[in-house]
């Protein structure tokens, strides 16, 4: 298998990305979420859930991607509000909260129970090698609960790592650049 460079897939994220059950502003508070994991002491614009701990993040990509790793980060000061149980669904943009809650694997492509260390350090979590992860057009990240079982879940940074199937975007399309070793 070719040794593709794993990169952040946030570059391929589209504007249609939304998140349900977000407190405060419109669902596109997600756009303000730091695009790459950053070591921040106090996040400027965290993603907070409204009223209950569930969050349903709907990430749209502009091409099918292969998803390899996931990073979810919550700042240390708020780590108890970090997401604990996360379910990943692929290509189901109209899924709603009831379905997400009731379905386990195999409909959910992967159910991940996070540890506080993983979320606090923001380490990349390798995902299972599943067929669905090779052709992801939209990804639904359902956060079912947080560490303290409280009413508010908080995510400070989010990153998705993998490889695009169609290549690296504008760089390839221009054809004017020298061939780089990617």
């Amino acid at each position: 298998m070719a040794d593709d460079k794993i990169e952040s897939l946030l570059a391929y994220m589209e504007n249609q990305t939304t998140c349900l059950n977000v407190a405060g502003d419109s669902p596109n508070a997600l756009k303000n979420l730091p695009r790459t994991k950053q070591r921040v002491k106090d996040s400027s614009l965290p993603l907070l859930s409204n009223d209950d701990p569930q969050l349903l993040l709907n990430v749209h990509f502009n091409q099918a991607v292969r998803l390899r790793k996931l990073i979810i980060h919550t700042a240390e000061a708020h780590i108890s509000q970090g997401p604990a149980l996360v379910k990943l669904f692929v290509n189901r943009p109209t899924i709603d909260f009831e379905e997400a809650e009731n379905e386990g694997e195999p409909q959910a492509v992967q159910v991940i129970e996070l540890t506080q260390e993983q979320v606090q350090s923001g380490e990349p979590i390798s995902l299972r090698f599943a067929m669905q992860f090779q052709k992801v057009s939209t990804l639904q990240i359902f956060v079912q609960s947080n560490f303290e079982d409280g009413d508010v879940t908080r995510i400070d940074a989010l990153d998705l790592l993998g490889t695009p199937t169609l290549g690296g975007g504008a760089r390839d399309l221009s054809g004017l650049h020298k061939e780089e070793d990617s």
């Binding site: 939304t18 349900l20 419109s26 669902p27 009223d51 943009p93 109209t94 709603d96 909260f97």
Partner: protein, 344 residues
């Protein structure tokens, strides 16, 4: 102008036979549905609207989301033959949510507009239940508008529907409008209300609930005392004529006779009325009396009743005073339409 898929829920219960709205509640409601449909589909060609009923044997979807008015009109016609039973609001909203979930174009935002003309009974009256439902709608980012009329209007603070809308509201996307019986058409009141304001591009905060607004205040928010959504051409014409008049008066004051200022006065009158529109409340009776006196005697009008025009008062020449008197009489005419809202 947001791109939306809307489901309209009609009340087709027995209470719709009542004639307190012209010609009957059901017809007034159908008219309003027509207006809402047109408004939604005109504001954005991608918008689609569906229709369902909530009484009769049970909530039933008549038309799935469509852009075709003909289907909706035909459905209303068949619904008019099925009036009866009692409404079941929670089930109807659940069905509407499901219908929206399966809309063809997933990019459309979801909205439910429910017409409620019968009293809340059974599960609908249980406020906790309704609030839970509202929170579910908010979580799924579904906006809700409730149009209460007839027996659906609730007195005082107990309003379950108002609490419902407040809980489903996120960022001002949901509204509660209560329309009492009266000479005005249900659809007219709707057009100028917050429910359809978004389609006209008017920020929804500017729209007052016609029921709850203080006397004189509803039109006070609008420039020139004219609702731009009711009559955009008039509002535009008034704005343009004010600008023209400002330029003209600058020249007219010094050299030209009052007569030319007079012609421009009707147009300028409304802009002047705009400066302290919310002070019309304070002025009302006394100012009207003063104006009436001034008109009948042809004297200079005492300007103390009109606080917003202090700047001009001190420097007034006789010519300008006469022009002002005429403007005041125009203002009185503009002032009168503000009174009827007090009566309801």
């Amino acid at each position: 102008m947001p791109i939306e898929a809307t489901i309209i829920i009609l009340d087709n219960s027995e209470f719709m036979r009542n004639g307190d709205y012209q010609p009957s509640r059901f017809h007034a409601q159908s008219d309003a549905v027509n207006t809402v449909f047109q408004s939604k589909v005109d504001s954005n060609p991608e918008n689609s609207v569906g229709l369902m009923t909530m009484a009769g044997k049970g909530p039933e979807v008549l038309v799935t989301n469509t852009k075709d008015l003909g289907q909706v009109l035909a459905a209303i016609h068949t619904a008019s033959g099925k009036i009866g039973g009692n409404t079941d609001i929670p089930t109807a909203i659940a069905v509407a949510q499901l219908a929206l979930k399966h809309r063809q174009n997933k990019n459309l935002r979801q909205r439910i507009i429910a017409f409620v003309g019968s009293p809340m009974e059974g599960p609908a009256a249980d406020e906790r239940n309704m609030i839970k439902l509202a929170k579910k709608l908010k979580k799924n980012n579904v906006a809700v508008d409730i149009v209460a009329f007839g027996d659906g209007m609730e007195e005082g603070e107990q309003s379950v529907l108002k609490a419902f809308v407040d809980n489903a509201n996120s960022n001002d996307n949901s509204h509660y409008v209560s329309i009492p019986p009266g000479p005005q058409l249900l659809s007219d009141v709707l057009v100028s209300s917050a429910v359809l304001a978004g389609d006209h591009g008017i920020p929804e905060e500017l729209m007052g609930n016609p029921e709850a607004a203080a006397p004189g205040a509803p039109t006070g928010n609008f420039e020139f005392g004219v609702d731009p959504s009711l009559d955009p051409e008039l509002a535009l014409a008034l704005r343009m004529s004010m600008e023209e008049e400002q330029a003209r008066q600058a020249a007219a004051a010094a050299t030209q006779p009052p007569a030319s200022a007079t012609e421009a006065a009707p147009a300028a009158a409304k802009p002047d009325a705009a400066y302290p529109p919310d002070e019309a409340d304070d002025d009302d009776e006394e100012a009207l009396l003063k104006r009436a006196l001034a008109m009948s005697e042809g004297d200079d009008v005492d300007m103390s009743g009109h606080d917003g025009e202090d700047d001009e008062d001190e420097d007034m020449s006789e010519d300008e005073a006469i022009a002002k008197a005429i403007q005041m009489s125009m203002k009185e005419n503009a002032g009168e339409p503000k009174e009827p809202p007090k009566k309801s």
